[in-house]
């Protein structure tokens, strides 16, 4: 069974999924961060594969990506770092990135490496639904990789239903119409979250974009299975002198 499915089946409370950019702040911090997140009580990790032109991301994740690339991070290096990590890490890990680097790596080869290292899911925001259905779905399925789609406040109900039918693992609900890291007020979004909840999708729903502290985490959780924190976490570890301590404190504050 895919670890994402297992998590949602076994865990009653709200899921905390933390995003970080692989190879950031330093090239070899990737695994330290994942392991510390697990120890600190995070439920899932989304690892960003840095891209030079991340269209859906705000300045914080853009900068972390630029730094990670300068550090030498690339997909082949990431798979190298992940070799054997399943001996120590049991929480679900999802890779997030943009289509071009995956295309250049080779889609099938990429999926194979994901299966070998123990990656559970994939988010590629610029891979549209039609292309996925016609060209990619079979390959991802063959390697047991859950493909996770985004929905936004502007997505129509019919389209949300279609996305839900194609998504595996969970549906990623973007909290507001924005790039990552915008400090938009969550209170205006409650109606949208409630509408999603009322749709009773087959997949669990995690809310992301703009979730940054305990208050926004709880506001998101009120209508969903959990939430994803990205920019706020990246900012927190950017200049940390003690990564493990910073991460522990960050997660504790959210979960307290």
């Amino acid at each position: 069974m895919n670890r994402i499915d297992q998590l949602f089946r076994d865990k009653p409370g709200h899921i905390l999924n933390i995003y970080c950019t692989a190879g950031f702040p330093a090239l070899n911090d990737t695994l330290t961060i994942v392991e510390t997140l697990q120890k600190s009580g995070a439920d899932m990790v989304e690892l960003g594969m840095p891209f030079s032109d991340p269209l859906a991301d705000g300045p914080v994740i853009q900068d972390s990506s630029t730094r990670a690339i300068a550090n030498g991070m690339r997909i082949s290096v990431l798979f190298e770092q992940l070799k054997g990590f399943r001996e120590r890490v049991s929480l679900p890990v999802v890779l997030m990135g943009y289509l071009n680097p995956v295309l250049q790596f080779g889609v099938e080869e990429f999926c194979k490496k994901c299966a070998e290292t123990g990656i559970d899911g994939l988010i590629l925001p610029d891979l549209p639904m039609d292309e996925y259905e016609n060209e990619y779905r079979q390959i991802f399925d063959k390697y047991g990789l859950h493909f996770i789609f985004l929905v936004t406040p502007e997505t129509s109900e019919a389209r949300i239903r279609k996305i839900d039918s194609l998504s595996k693992g969970f549906v990623y609900a973007v909290s507001s119409s924005s790039t990552t890291g915008k400090d938009k007020d969550m209170s205006g979004q409650q109606a949208y979250f409630a509408r999603l909840q009322a749709m009773k999708l087959k997949n669990p729903v995690l809310i992301g974009f703009g979730i940054r502290d305990k208050a926004t985490f709880e506001a998101a959780c009120a209508h969903s299975n959990g939430a994803i924190i990205g920019s706020a976490f990246v900012k927190a570890i950017e200049n940390s002198a003690n990564l493990q301590q910073t991460i522990q404190e960050f997660v504790e504050k959210i979960k307290a």
């Binding site: 891209f51 030079s52 032109d53 269209l55 859906a56 705000g58 300045p59 853009q62 630029t66 690339i69 690339r74 997909i75 082949s76 943009y98 289509l99 071009n100 680097p101 995956v102 295309l103 250049q104 790596f105 925001p125 610029d126 891979l127 549209p128 292309e131 789609f149 985004l150 929905v151 936004t152 502007e154 997505t155 129509s156 389209r159 996305i163 973007v174 119409s177 924005s178 790039t179 915008k182």
Partner: protein
């Protein structure tokens, strides 16, 4: 007007799914889906509406000054021993072909009920053309421009501001056109309901490459008519244009792509030399990939990071090329040449001294490759003079001969 002709039987134009051969598509994040889907559904229908077409035609005539002349450049022709016609897009209001597209898109944006316009710009010509039509229609205008380009195209920055636009510097990456485009797309993600993005070239997700090519196709429509009047034949032997994203080339080629006796010459910017590491010659250096939501040829590292291009001309300083051009390149329908920074400067001086026309640096790249064609006496060559050189005077003065 011919801008709405049915191209569904063409081997070269876009197909129903938004592809040119392997290239094109709409690789957009979900946040852009409603806007892009709306455009895909409606662009042809709106463009085919007679009221829309007549408004477009009227503005092109009375405001832009179309048709632009097709000028037989006598002294240039003498030098190369053929008949060289210049399509004078430099004489358009605002000084380049870019306004053909912005007039079309602002009318379309109004039809869609949009209130706010965003755009990216490299040389500033598209930014100026967008700021101009926004002033004309009383709409808010935000233009993203790489901070490097803001410095090298100062007169155009001042023009945009005078026209009432807000110019926002793009400070990420190479701080040029690619990064300005990223910022414009991010703005659109953050403002999905009231904003229309006027893309300045035949790039971006479907339907932009086809929509922009159609608005620019007034160029080849006029060339055919004017050439017929002047020579009795509507097809020349060659049509030539420079290629950044490829909009002036798409407009120059549009009605000729299925006329296989007309040779299409696309000229890219070689920068300091194709293999110098400072170049923007995408067809020579690029591989298939995805940039700005389109599958096309693009300059990238082995692991798929987009490479920072170089050209002396800000308008050609782009690591991709429109999917139509990628397809014309792959099928061999168009011949792709490239001109270095030095060749372009040389050509700009040549045209100035022979014809009394100071071209934009971008357009000078096309002129520069006349010498590379194996021309036969009696042949007819049409070159798109996409813009005038006012904005490049600082660069020209630096290299004054």
């Amino acid at each position: 007007m011919d801008i709405t002709i049915d191209t569904s039987h063409s081997k070269y134009h876009v197909n129903k799914k938004g592809y040119y051969g392997h290239f094109g598509g709409a690789y957009i994040p979900e946040m852009l889906y409603p806007n892009v889907a709306e455009l895909q559904e409606k662009y042809l229908e709106i463009m085919r509406d007679p009221a829309f077409l007549s408004a477009f035609e009227q503005l092109l005539k009375d405001y832009v000054g179309r048709p632009s002349p097709l000028y037989l450049a006598k002294r240039l022709s003498e030098k190369y021993g053929v008949d060289i016609y210049l399509k004078r897009e430099d004489l358009n209001h605002t000084g380049a072909h870019k306004i053909n597209n912005t007039i079309g898109q602002i009318l379309l944006a109004k039809r869609l009920g949009k209130k706010r316009i965003i755009a990216e710009t490299g040389a500033g010509q598209h930014g100026v053309a967008t700021a101009t039509v926004c002033a004309l229609m009383g709409m808010e205008c935000v233009v993203y421009m790489g901070s490097v380009d803001i410095q090298r195209q100062a007169p155009n920055v001042a023009r945009m501001k005078m026209l009432g636009a807000t110019v926002v510097p793009a400070t990420s990456g190479s701080k040029t056109l690619k990064d300005a485009t990223n910022e414009a797309i991010r703005d659109w993600i953050n403002n999905p309901v009231d904003t229309h993005y006027i893309i300045g070239s035949v790039v971006g997700p479907h339907p932009y490459p086809d929509m922009v090519a159609r608005f620019q196709s007034v160029i080849s429509e006029e060339i055919r008519r004017q050439l017929k009047e002047k020579t009795g034949k509507s097809n020349p032997d060659y049509v030539m244009a420079c290629v950044g994203g490829g909009s002036n080339a798409a407009g120059t080629f549009f009605h000729f792509v299925d006329e296989e006796d007309v040779r299409l010459i696309a000229v890219e910017a070689a920068g300091k030399g194709v293999h110098s590491g400072y170049s923007a010659a995408t067809s020579q250096l690029g591989r298939m990939g995805v940039i700005h939501a389109s599958k096309t040829l693009l300059m990238q590292t082995e692991d798929g990071q987009i490479v920072e291009p170089h050209s002396i001309s800000a308008g050609l300083d782009y690591p991709g090329v429109g999917p139509l051009h990628a397809h014309l390149f792959e099928t061999g329908r168009a011949t792709f040449l490239s001109a270095t920074d030095d060749e372009a400067l040389e050509a700009a001086y040549e045209l100035s001294r022979l014809e009394g026309i100071i071209p934009a640096l971008e357009s000078a790249h096309a002129i520069a490759k006349l010498k590379d064609l194996s021309l036969q006496p009696g042949q007819v060559v049409v070159v798109c003079l996409s813009g005038r050189g006012d904005k490049d005077m600082e660069t020209y003065i630096k290299h004054l001969k």
